[in-house]
Amino acid sequence: MPIIQVHHLVKEFRRPRRFGGRLGGLRTLFTQQYDTTLAVDDVSFSIDEGELIGYLGSNGAGKSTTIKMLSGILVPTGGEVRVGGLVPWEQREQNALQIGVVFGQRTQLWWDLPLEDSLRLIGKLYRVDAARYARAHERLVELLGLEPFLRTPVRQLSLGQRMRGDLAAAMLYEPRILYLDEPTVGLDIVAKERMRQFVEETNRERGTTIMLTTHDLADVERLCKRIIFIDKGRVLYDGSVTELKRRYAPWRMLEVTLAGETEDAVPPLGLPGAAIIEQGAAKLSIRFDPALIAVADLITVVIARHPVSDISIVEPDLEGVVREIVEAGEVRS
């Protein structure tokens, strides 16, 4: 049975229309006119225990809104949700014990308290007994390298340090499910890598089910087998990353560095499913379809014709695929 089940989830935000001018506030208070936004529009999916999925979409697609409903802090307009068998916004307190949430844009830590005190408060809130607390605390401090700033008030932490603190807070009570909403936003390369490693290990070693939202597709390439792509509140794609790439970019690139420079145009390859698309001074870029020609055969032919000093295969990147999906507003089948 899936650990997260979402059926026809809808969230419509309704805001009374604002009026300016004198007595505008009063009019706003008593008006019947509303501005509505359909943030999540009939979303369905299910996630199995132990999965690590990427929940993707452009700004305003409805990702955070979905996560808020799954964590039980926002009540949907329609649809059904079960998380570990619970309706999150109805069985809020029980649901809270089984989930951890990190919003990269905010912190659940207390600004005025040292990180250590924030963690202790979280431990008490989530009913972690002393022995379990000591164990989890030690593990997380080590894994996330928190030691140097444990006694520092949260307001004085750098973004990367704070984010690590937030991850520790979310994992301190060892929830079965972790929602990560843009956990790498604003981090430098080293910090991002550390974060990814932590997420990967948590998923692999503890079997924690993780739902990850990010605009950095390198996170997704590194961590997720499966993605759910939403746009304007609707699911456009739900499936594996490999399959998506296959649909959009069946091509691979063979980047060849030649031993010597040539001025002459290289003759066409004359192979099915492969073509030279660019030629530099000592470089060839060959596009090929692995379904039509085996890499080994292609390389054999190239080496037979040219003196080669280096050769590499480049996978298509998700970035281009996503750009195309967003522009088209739909996913190719």
Binding site: A96, I99, V101, R120, Y126, R127, D181
Partner: protein, 268 residues
Amino acid sequence: MTIRANLPAWIEIGRANIRWQYMYRFNVLMGILLTGVTIYLLTIVWRAAYGGQTEVGGIGIQQTLVYLTIANLQLYFLRPQVSGTIQERIREGQIGFDLSRPVGYPSQLIARAAGDMIGLLPMVVVSVPVALIVGELESPASFSAGLAYVVSFLLAWVIAVQLNMVIGLVSFWTLEMTGFEMMYRLIGNFATGALVPLWFMPDALRVIVQVLPFQSIAFVPVSIYVGAPATGAVWSALAVQVFWAVALVGIIQWVWERAFLRTVIQGG
């Protein structure tokens, strides 16, 4: 069951808030200064109102001045930050984290308020001397009046927190505080009886103030302190407070359930 499970969390929240009181000691001291000024002004005004007489309507000037001093002194400890906290958390979009805890939000707020109050208590050593200088202080009318006052003061605290919480929960609808809170402040402040003792209010006004919960915050405990109600009346005064404390539990539950359905978590 849930009380046992949540107790350590409440204690920890309370402890964190006690510490915050010391971080914001400037505010804490400013509060005492304001209280001192209020007591000083009230003393001047009421002396003038008595116009040199020692007694008006059977109430001695000394008793009235002691009443006003105690009322405003204790009000200093009875200004919970609950509604301000709720608004701030909503405005900053942090409310989502509070709601995502396995501990109910209203109970988190009560734990905070308790921490605030306990953190303020040591300020007695500053605020009492200030009140002694600018106002009139006396010991309670009798030993039993003093005892009843302690009980009544605790009930006053509970009701002050509850009323403040109801106002704060309304921010789930309005998102920012409107004229509503200012109106509440104005009416609420007056209706506690901390500026004008109820016994000096015209009958019609007094009847209104007596059916409102606010008098439980100042008038009820302080009139017990100065020995205004007869012994039998002390019990019924306490009963009124208990009634409001219980009724407000129901009211808060009702408002809170509806407020949650309205949660709008800003940004993210």
